[in-house]
């Protein structure tokens, strides 16, 4: 619709003298409904934060910061330490992003710069569909399909390829299982790639075409154009996308609790089972009583804080990109 015809069709509605009751209160109604929606989300977030902190308060006061450094989760003897849970969360999330970041950048570059035009949208849609798979389905696939392949093929192959390297080799130790940190990393990679790649793709499309054309006009190859224009221009945006992906990975509970193996302990070998903070909450909250409930709420407080930090960092970086974009 052109501007003229739009104005023409709006004309009678706006100039007509017989304005309906609904229209007369339209402005005010719109204001009130949108205000209520905005306030509602703030109230829910506030109430949620209050409730979680309130439930955690007894655990926070009795375990304090020692909760973060001890690693004994024993509901029977009422001893709670979250170090092994936070370790599992950290290793699985960072491991996932280590795999997901290059993969996502590759997907985004392919879709914005290299793929034939007609294939870009279908492929992008398919990648984003990955994000729509329910996590419990991914988790089940993880134990029934991925796990056995991990144990019989992938993990032994990684061990023989990388296990001999000093220090790093200890990550790929010689014990294999169908559940463990490594399957959790792979599942989280699959879950974060759609988010990180679609955000990265958006960022790549904000690179000014003039800059890209300039690089090509100066005789650069497509790779040199990407290296000297697209990637440097997008770096803060990519970091922000990775931060949002990290928030997703840290908070993912169901799929991780299905494949991580749920065994306490802090060890370098990625093939051994571990635990994660969000997975622990998902698995145990419903059955927990008394002090265990408070300790799980304390874990939730920590996760809430982490997500605030990741989101704030992502926001700051996105703002930097936007400012630079408006300067050009």
């Amino acid at each position: 619709m052109t501007t003229e015809s739009a104005a023409a069709s709006l004309g009678p509605a706006l100039s007509g003298r017989r304005r309906g009751i609904l229209d007369r209160f339209g402005d005010r109604g719109l204001y009130l409904i949108t205000l209520a929606a905005a306030i509602g989300s703030v109230v829910i977030l506030g109430g949620l934060t209050y409730k979680v902190i309130d439930e955690a308060s007894s655990a926070i006061s009795s375990y304090g910061l020692g909760f973060l450094t001890t690693s004994n989760w024993d509901p029977v003897h009422e001893q709670f330490g979250a170090a092994q849970l936070l370790y599992g969360t950290a290793v699985s999330s960072f491991g996932a992003l280590l795999l997901a970041t290059p993969l996502s950048i590759a997907i985004a570059l392919f879709l914005t710069e290299l793929a034939p035009r007609g294939t870009r949208t279908p492929i992008a849609t398919l990648v984003e569909l990955l994000a729509g798979i329910p996590s419990v389905i991914l988790g089940l696939w993880g134990i029934l399909v991925l796990g056995p392949a991990m144990q019989s093929t992938i993990e032994p192959a990684l061990h023989s390829a990388l296990g001999w390297i000093p220090v790093i080799g200890s990550l790929f130790g010689g014990e294999y299982g169908i559940v463990g940190l490594f399957p959790a990393i792979v599942i989280l990679t699959i879950m974060t790639v759609p988010i990180v790649s679609s955000l990265t793709r958006e960022i790549f499309t904000t690179v000014p075409p003039t800059a890209k054309e300039g690089a090509l006009a100066l005789g650069g190859t497509r790779w040199e154009m990407i290296k000297t224009v697209v990637l440097p221009y997008s770096r803060p945006g990519i970091v922000a996308a990775v931060m949002l992906g990290l928030g997703r990975a840290v908070g993912e509970a169901i799929a991780v609790s299905q494949v991580i193996g749920g065994a306490p302990g802090i060890h370098a070998n990625l093939f051994l089972p571990a635990q994660s903070a969000a997975g622990q909450i998902a698995a145990q909250y419903l059955g927990a009583t008394g002090p265990a409930t408070a300790a799980l709420a304390y874990l939730a407080v920590i996760l809430l804080l982490l997500s605030v930090v990741f989101n704030a960092m992502a926001r700051i970086l996105v703002r930097a990109v936007q400012q630079r974009a408006s300067q050009t």
């Binding site: 004994n72 989760w73 024993d74 509901p75 029977v76 003897h77 988790g139 089940l140 134990i143 029934l144 796990g147 056995p148 144990q151 299982g177 169908i178 559940v179 609790s257 299905q258 193996g261 749920g262 065994a263 306490p264 089972p273 635990q275 997975g279 622990q280 698995a283 145990q284 419903l286 059955g287 927990a288 009583t289 008394g290 265990a292 409930t293």
Partner: protein
């Protein structure tokens, strides 16, 4: 429970709404009276009972937990004692050809496969029944692990839900994991026979579960444990357990509740066998009904 719901609705036209939220949450909700009744796989502790102010818990179904295993080169129904099973879950017995296991299975050639104990990471009545049994037969297990729906096992691999445990057991050679006999039967797992106090190794059949339940001579308010039943029950499965319904003694839905639970204790028991559960012994039913009489309109 879902079987009872539909059958009760078709018999009486009354609807019972039941949400499976986990035992801990169920106990919390009945304590806060946001629901009319609760159900729990583990009896409430005395603290929980007193917090619930005037609640009673009565057994209303009967199940059994068995150690399922996956060991290539070994036959079904290997024999174990509770002691040895406790040693396995404590990490003291680590290979299938350990002399402690070999001694119980003369004539069976056991592979040297490493034992991988599998347990539930989520709160579960199966974990309660299993740890209750191991704590009864092994003082070391009782002091290091204890009895609860959520415990800390020193070694092994966790699975989320019965499906998680089943997946780990079925995909790991050498794994052993506890599941209900109903689950094991419907999925065709091998399971180990456990020696009972009489020295026998019965299969976890309905009669064997019922024989364990029959040792419950009365039902005190704190609930009753029927794991490791006395030797007089010659063919009892040693890891059987009741699950409980929790009702407030003073409620405006007293009549409806009594009617439904009476149904569950009576006609409802007829479904048990088909689903792999035991039927409540007469003594327990009459005790439960007597306790139910305390429920009254406020």
């Amino acid at each position: 429970m879902s079987k009872w719901q539909s059958d009760y609705a078709s018999r009486t036209g009354d609807t019972v709404t039941y949400g499976a939220v986990g035992s801990g949450a169920g106990i919390e909700q009945i304590t806060a009276r946001t629901v009319d009744f609760g159900a729990s796989d583990a009896p409430m502790t005395s603290d929980q009972l007193s917090a619930c102010k005037g609640c009673i818990q009565v057994p209303w179904s009967l199940g059994a937990v068995v150690p399922a295993y996956n060991l290539s080169g070994a036959p079904n129904n290997l024999k174990l004692t509770g002691q040895v099973l406790a040693e396995i879950y404590l990490g003291n017995v680590t290979a299938w050809n350990d002399p402690a296991i070999a001694k119980l299975n003369p004539g069976v050639s056991l592979p040297s496969t490493k034992i991988t104990p599998v347990y539930r990471t989520d709160g579960s009545g199966d974990t309660y029944a299993f740890t209750d049994y191991l704590s009864h037969v092994s003082p070391e297990f009782d002091s290091t692990v204890g009895t609860a729906t959520e415990v800390k096992f020193p070694i092994g691999v966790g699975g989320n839900g019965s499906d998680g445990v089943a997946a780990s057991v079925s995909k790991t050679d050498g794994a052993i994991g506890y599941l209900t006999i109903a689950y094991v039967n419907s999925n065709g797992f091998n399971y180990a026979l456990l020696q009972n106090a009489a020295g026998n190794y019965p299969k976890a059949t309905i009669p064997a579960i019922n024989a364990a339940a029959a040792t419950a001579k009365s039902v005190p308010p704190s609930g009753v444990s029927i794991v490791d039943p006395p030797a007089s029950a010659k063919n009892a499965w040693p890891d059987s357990t009741f699950t409980y319904v929790i009702v407030p003694t003073s409620t405006d839905k007293a009549d409806a509740l009594k009617k439904f639970i009476t149904y569950a204790l009576g006609a409802g028991q007829s479904f048990a066998e088909g689903l792999g559960y035991g039927t409540l012994p007469k003594q327990v039913v009459s005790d439960s009904k007597a306790a139910l009489n305390k429920v009254d309109s406020s």
